[in-house]
Amino acid sequence: MFEIISNTVAAFFTLSIFSFLYKDNPFYRFAESLLVGVSMGYAIPLVYENAFIPYVYTPIFLGHRFSLIFPAILGILYSFRFSKNLSWLARYPIVFGMGIIGMSVPMSIHSSVLVQMRSAMLPLNTINSVLIFIGTVTILLYFFFSKDHKGVYGKFTNVGVWFMMIGFGASFGYTVMARISLLIGRIQFLVGDWLGFIK
C-alpha cells in the first residue's frame, strides 16, 4: 500500500515537471520549489549528523581536542556572508579553501598535462596515433592567435577546426543519448513502477 501511495506521489510530481513542456504553470512551479525545499531539508540534518557531530561536537566537547576550535571558527566565518557590514570575514575561509586547491596543482599537471602529452608523442605506427597527432597539432595551431589564419597556415588551422567540429558532434551525440536516457528512466517509472505496464 505504501509503495502505491509513494509511487503515485512521485508520478504526480514527475507529470507536474513534464507539464512545463506544454507551458509554464503552477503545478510545475510547485514541484520545482518542493524539490529545492526537500533537498535542503534532507541535507541539513544529514550534514549535522555526519559532519558537525563526528568532526566538531564529539572531538571538541567529548574528546577535549580544543585545537579544533580554530578551524571550527574559520568555518563559522562563512555565515557572515549574510551580513552587509561583516561579509568580508567570509573571505578568510574561502582563501583557506583556495590554498588547499593549490595543493592539487602539481598532481593535476601530472594527470591532465604531462601524461596527456606523453600519450600524444607515441610512434606514428597506427591510424589512431596519426589522427591524434594531426588533431593535436592543428588544433594547437588554431589557438595560436599571434599569426593571421591565412595561406598555408590557415589551411592547417582549418583542419583543426574540422577536428573540433567532429569532437563537438560526438559530444552532442552523447548529450542527446544522455537526455533520452533520463526520459527513458522517468517513463520506465511511470509506465512500469506506477502503472504496471512493463513486466
Binding site: S111, S112, A170, I180, I187
Partner: protein
Amino acid sequence: MTEKIIAFFDKMQRVDRRVIYLIVALSIIIPLVIPFNSPTYTEEPTENIYKKIDSFAGQSNKAVLLSFFHDASTMPELFPMEVSVLRHCFERNIKVFTICFTPAAAPLVDYAINTAKENYDVKSGVDYLNFGYKPGALFLPIVLGMGEDISEAVDTDSEGRKIKNLEIMKDIKNYDDMNLVIDFSGSGSALSWVTYARAKFGANVAAGITAVMVADNYPYLQTGQLLGMFRGLKGAAEYEKLVDVFASYESDEYPNGRPFSKEVIKSIEVPITESNITYIDKDTGVVTDTGIPSNYKYKVARIGMNAQSVAHIMIIVFIILGNIGFFVTRKKNDGL
C-alpha cells in the same frame, strides 16, 4: 508536384514543437511496453572493468570501492551500472565497499545495495561495507588517507561501526588491496580520483559516467589513467550482459561463473524477452535456458537501450527532414 513538396516541407518547418515531444515520447513508451530483442555489443572500456573486477574473485586481499557522486537526477543512467557491478561482486564473492560525498547520494547507495543483494546471501561487514556519507570537505583527506590506511581515513561505516573491527577489513589496508575505484557521477569527479588516488598511490580508477560527460573523459581513458569507462546507459547495458553471460553462468565445468572470453561474448546473445536467463549461440543457433529467472531489475538498461535506439532513429529522421526542409524552402525563398 514540386509545389506540393515545398508546401509539405513548409508545413513541416512550422510544426509545433509539442508534436515532436509527443512523437519522441511515443517512440520511447512503445518499445518499453512491447519489448523486443536487440543485440548488445560490448566494448573494451566496459570489458576492462569487468575483467579487472573478475580478477579479484575469491581473493580476500582484493576489493573494489564504488564512489557514488550523484543524486537522483542521473539515476536512469548510473543506477543500472551500480546494481550490475554490485551483482557481479556478490555473484563472484568479491569484497565491495561503497562511499559517497554528497548528501543526496546516501539513500541511493542503500537503494543500490538493497536492489542488488536481494537474490544473494551476503552480509554487511563481511561481504560488502557501506562507508556511508562523508562530508564533501573531507574528500581530499579521505582519498589521500586511504592510500595509507583505510580504517584510519574512514574510521566508521554508515551504521557507526568502527571499520577496523569488521571482518571485511581483514587483509584490506590501502589501495594496494582495494585496488579498483569506480566513480559513478554525472560530473568530472572521476578526475579527482585520477589526480589523487592514481597519481600518488597508483590506484586503478574507472568511471561510470552519464553520456554527457563521456567526451570529456575520453582523453583519460586513451592515456590509460582510467582503466575503463561505463558510457551512459549503453555502458550499463553492456555490463548487464557481461554479468549474465559470465558471472552468473553455472555449469559442471564452471560452477561459479565462467572466465571472460572475447569469443564467447561475441557469439552469445541474452534475449531480454525471456522469463529465464537464456543464451542463444549466434554461430550454432543453440538455445540454452538456464532456468534462472531473468529479473527485470537486472536488465533494465538493456530494455532502456531498445527505446534509446528507436528514439535515436526518430531524432535522425527529424534532423534529415529538417535539413531537407531548410534547403527546399530556402530554394523557394531564393526564387522569390
